[in-house]
Amino acid sequence: MEKDVSISGYRRKDGRVGIRNHLLVIPTVACVNGVVNRVGRAVPEAVCAPHGHGCGRGGERNLVILFRVLSGMIRHPNVGAAVVIGLGCEVSNTKTLLPMLGDIGKPLAVLNVQEEGGSLKTADKAIGAAREFLEELAAARREPADWNDLLVSVECGGSDAMSGITANVAVGAVADLLVDRGATVMFGENTEMIGAAHVLARRAVNDEVARKITEMTDRAETLTRTVMGDMAGLVISPGNMDGGMSTIAEKSLGCIVKGGTRPVMDVVDYGETPKVRGLVLQDGPGYDADSMAGFAAAGSQLMFFSTGRGTPAGFPAVPVIKVASNSELYRAMEDDMDINAGNMVEGVPLEALRDDMTAYMTEIINGKRTRAEENGMDIFTFMTVNPPF
């Protein structure tokens, strides 16, 4: 096996390695998304990450998540420089955010609309800073990296009954290979572990981790029951059901195969960076967009995303490899799909598919763009725990 396939990246001052060297333009709060979009039109090379959050919600847990995700994105190893657009009066204002960031070891510009004289003046300054940073970034060169520099997350969304049979099984085989090479692999979606928690707990590295797995899934189950009532056992989308899945346990078993078969080394909170290598679970929600933001905030440089019904979603600054679970989807959305795992049904052995996926992944790590990157299909939103008021 090609154990010594070499990979490269951008080594950051905090010791992490980016596989991209992006300029990120990010708002602290939704109110200034228009400024970010304006910068994006003027500087198309920038990765813009407008979002719907930053204010209007309270509660300690909500604030922890808000600041963890914003700072995680700014500090992200795939981000070489950042322009932060604030408003001034928002909960996630830059006066609170910046001390949490500390020295990020990369060029950073911070502009507040209420201080700069409005949206147009802020955008003009931000455009200037963005152009300057891009020149600096262009001078950076890739260096050799190790597999153990990587945190690869695996996600599934818009699943069908094939997802758990083809795509997730194939992604799981790649996950095992990554862990064996020294990388960290993370998957989350705690609601999609309900009914399969005992299978994961059996694979926990010790009793403490087994307890964390059980606690996480019990909490997810309680929340699901509270919200869904009598329909809780069928908490899967109409699309999932049309695809042939009948219960959440069936969906969950098909979901957790995407993490592979290696021991579960730890459970980390939403957006929290794992401290151990190997397979790690994130205590985060099943909704793809929120889940990916947690992985990104934790510092995932790369994601796999399997889909059966077909979603084009990518993520700002993070390459997302889309794996189609069936050939019909692959053909129907070929521009959006990177890998066709549906060919397992047509007789391609799992090992051959895994090796093809690994070769493709290596190219992506080394700079080739995923379909979602090519197409600009970034979405950015993240978990909140309380309704707005």
Binding site: A161, M162, D230, A232, G243, E250, L253
Partner: protein
């Protein structure tokens, strides 16, 4: 003959249709006929590969994924009309 179904785990009592199966079509996996479809089974859906008693577990991935609400004959389509979640029973 190409496989028409997938049997994921040796302990499973359902197979997954790889394409739409019409009534009378064989559920074929690696050269073995596991059942003959009694009704239409859409691609991705489950077909019983042995008779499942009322209240019996539906096994896929080698693990229970639901409880049958009726006797399910071999070859029948298995979905929400004849199983319920063993975890949270509907009232």
């Amino acid at each position: 003959m190409a496989d028409s179904v997938l049997v994921i785990h040796e302990n499973d009592n359902v197979a997954v249709a790889l394409r739409d199966l019409e009534a009378g079509e064989e559920a074929l996996f690696r050269g073995k006929i596991f059942a003959t479809a009694l009704e239409r089974v859409p691609a991705g859906h489950k077909v019983a590969i042995c008779e499942i008693e009322r209240g019996g577990e539906i096994i896929k991935y080698g693990e229970p994924v639901g409880i049958s609400t009726a006797v399910i004959p071999r070859g029948a389509w298995v979905h929400t009309h004849n199983l319920e979640s063993g975890r949270w029973k509907r009232t």
